[in-house]
C-alpha cells in the first residue's frame, strides 16, 4: 500500500481523519432527507472540483465524484510519476454497497413533479446507474486503459475491493491497482426509510451521539457517505522506486454465512477471521489491532462481539477498536476507510478508540476493547480489519507493518 486518498465525514485526507479519530471528533450531523425530514447522516465536504470539471461532475454521480477525488489524492500521495505510468497496466477495483439508487430516486421524483412525463427521463440514467459507473468515471478522469469494475458486496465492499486488487496484482493482470470502496448512500431516502422500517436507523437529539456501537443504548445505523482508495503495487515495485510503504497486505478472506438475509452468523465471522490469519501465516497472538465492523445495531454488534471474543480467545495482546461512532456507517467505503484510520498506528503505536460508549453493553464486552480514549500500545505491527454485509458476506483483511 503506497498511496491513500480518502474523504470521510470528519476528514478529507489521512492526517485530518486520523486526528479526528484520536480526538473523538464526529462527522455525523443532522440533515434533511426527502419525505422523512431531519435525520442523522454523515456527509463529506471535500472539494468536488479539485480534479473534475463542473460539467463532468453534473454528468456523473456523487459516487463517481468521491472516487475521482480519492483516486487522484491516492496517486499524488503515492509519489508515482503518473505521466510515465503504463495506463494499460493500471486497474480500478472499487467495492460498493449499491449503486444507481440515487439517480433512480431523483428521476422518479422529478417525473412526479412534471405530471409523470416519462420523456423527461434523463439520457444519462444508464451510464450513471450501470454498476461499474464509479470505477469507470475514475478511468475517464485519469485516462486509465486497464480493467475497471466495481465489486457489489454490501458493506464488506471496502475490504472486497482491496482484496480484488491484491488478487489481480498476484495474477499479473495489472502492475498498479487503485482499490478500496465508495458510498453515496445518504443521497437517497430509500436507505433511511428501509433502516427505519427495520428499526435500525440511528437517532439522537445530538447528532454526533447518534452512532454508538457497543453502547447499551445504541439504536441503529447512522448512514454516511465517503470513500477511500489505495494505490497498491507489488512489494518489488514499491521497493524499486523507493516508495513510502504504508503497509503490506498479508492475509485476507471472504466467506458467506448462508444463514439469513440480514442477521449475521458469528460462527462464520470467526471462520473468516481465522482463514485470513492462516493465509497470512500468523496466529491470533500476532494480531495487534482488530478493527470491528460494529455498526451500532442491536443484533449485529452482539454477534460480532461474540465472534471477536471467540476468534481471539487467549490473545492477551490483541486490542480491539471500532470506527463507526466517529463517522457513522460509510457503507461500501466503511472497510477501506476504517483500515486507513488504523494504519498510522504502525508509526505512532496508538490504538484509536471507538467513541460514544456511555454504558458498554455487557453482551459487547471484549477483552482489550479500546473505547472513548486512545490506547498507547507502543508497538503495532499487524492490523486485522473486519467488514461484513447483508446477505451474509464477511471479509477480513490483514495488513502488516513493512519493515525493510
Amino acid at each position: 500500500m503506497t498511496g491513500i486518498g480518502l474523504t470521510a465525514p470528519n476528514g478529507n485526507n489521512l492526517h485530518e481523519f486520523r486526528s479526528a479519530l484520536l480526538e473523538c471528533r464526529s462527522g455525523v450531523k443532522h440533515s434533511e432527507i426527502r419525505y422523512m425530514g431531519t435525520q442523522v447522516a454523515g456527509l463529506c465536504d471535500f472539494d468536488e472540483f479539485k480534479y473534475q470539471s463542473k460539467k463532468l461532475r453534473r454528468r456523473g454521480t456523487r459516487a463517481g465524484s468521491i472516487s475521482i477525488y480519492c483516486a487522484n489524492e491516492a496517486i499524488a500521495d503515492s509519489g508515482l510519476n503518473w505521466e510515465s505510468v503504463d495506463k494499460s497496466m493500471v486497474g480500478v477495483y472499487l467495492g460498493i454497497t449499491e449503486h444507481g439508487n440515487v439517480e433512480t430516486e431523483n428521476e422518479i421524483f422529478d417525473m412526479h413533479q412534471n405530471n409523470l412525463d416519462w420523456k423527461l427521463w434523463s439520457p444519462h440514467h444508464n451510464p450513471r446507474t450501470v454498476a461499474n459507473s464509479p470505477a469507470g468515471e475514475v478511468t475517464l478522469n485519469l485516462n486509465i486503459t486497464g480493467p475497471h469494475y466495481t465489486l457489489g458486496s454490501a458493506c464488506a465492499g471496502g475490504n472486497v475491493g482491496i482484496i480484488q486488487g491484491v488478487q489481480q496484482l498476484l495474477l499479473d493482470e495489472v502492475d498498479i491497482a487503485l482499490v478500496g470502496g465508495v458510498s453515496e448512500s445518504p443521497q437517497t431516502f430509500g436507505i433511511f426509510a428501509a433502516f427505519a422500517a427495520q428499526g435500525a436507523l440511528a437517532h439522537h437529539q445530538a447528532a454526533e451521539l447518534a452512532s454508538r456501537p457497543l453502547d447499551k443504548n445504541r439504536n441503529g445505523i447512522a448512514i454516511s457517505e465517503g470513500g477511500c482508495i489505495y494505490v497498491l503495487e507489488r512489494l518489488s515495485s514499491a521497493k524499486a522506486r523507493g516508495a513510502k510503504i504504508y503497509g503490506e497486505i498479508v492475509g485476507w478472506a471472504i466467506n458467506s454465512d448462508a444463514t439469513d438475509f440480514v442477521n449475521p452468523n458469528p460462527e462464520r465471522q470467526v471462520q473468516c477471521m481465522h482463514k485470513a490469519i492462516k493465509r497470512a501465516g500468523l496466529t491470533i497472538h500476532d494480531i495487534d489491532i482488530v478493527n470491528m465492523h460494529a455498526t451500532g445495531t442491536g443484533a449485529g454488534d452482539v454477534s460480532e462481539s461474540k465472534a471477536v471474543r471467540d476468534a481471539f480467545h487467549g490473545a492477551t495482546n490483541t486490542f480491539v477498536n471500532f470506527t463507526k461512532g466517529h463517522i457513522g456507517h460509510c457503507m461500501g467505503a466503511a472497510g477501506s476507510l476504517e483500515l486507513a484510520g488504523n494504519l498510522p498506528s504502525f508509526d505512532d503505536g496508538v490504538v484509536h478508540p471507538g467513541m460514544n460508549v456511555t454504558e458498554l453493553d455487557p453482551e459487547c464486552a471484549i477483552p482489550n476493547l479500546v473505547y472513548n480514549k486512545p490506547h498507547r500500545a507502543g508497538k503495532v505491527n499487524t492490523i486485522l480489519n473486519n467488514s461484513f454485509g447483508m446477505l451474509g458476506i464477511n471479509s477480513a483483511l490483514i495488513v502488516k507493518k513493512y519493515i525493510s
Partner: protein, 81 residues
Amino acid sequence: MTGSNVRQIVIDIISDIAPDEDVTSLDDNKSLREQLDLDSMDFLDIVMELRKRHKVEVPQEDYPKLATLQSCVSYLSPKFA
C-alpha cells in the same frame, strides 16, 4: 416572446449544462459545438431542459436546427409564440 428572450433561454440552459464554459461572447452564426465543449449528450440535455422548463418539444429530426444560436432562435421562436 422576442428573439432575444429565446436566445437568453437557450444560453441559460447551456450555462447550466456546461457551467465551465464562457457563454458571454458567443457568435450567433457559428456552430455552438465549434465554440463550446458540447457533445451529443449535451444537446439531448438542452432538448430535455426545453421540455422541462418551457414545455417546448423538439422532435429528434429537428435536432440539427439547434446548431447555432441563430438557428435556435429561428426554430424555437414560433414554439414560444
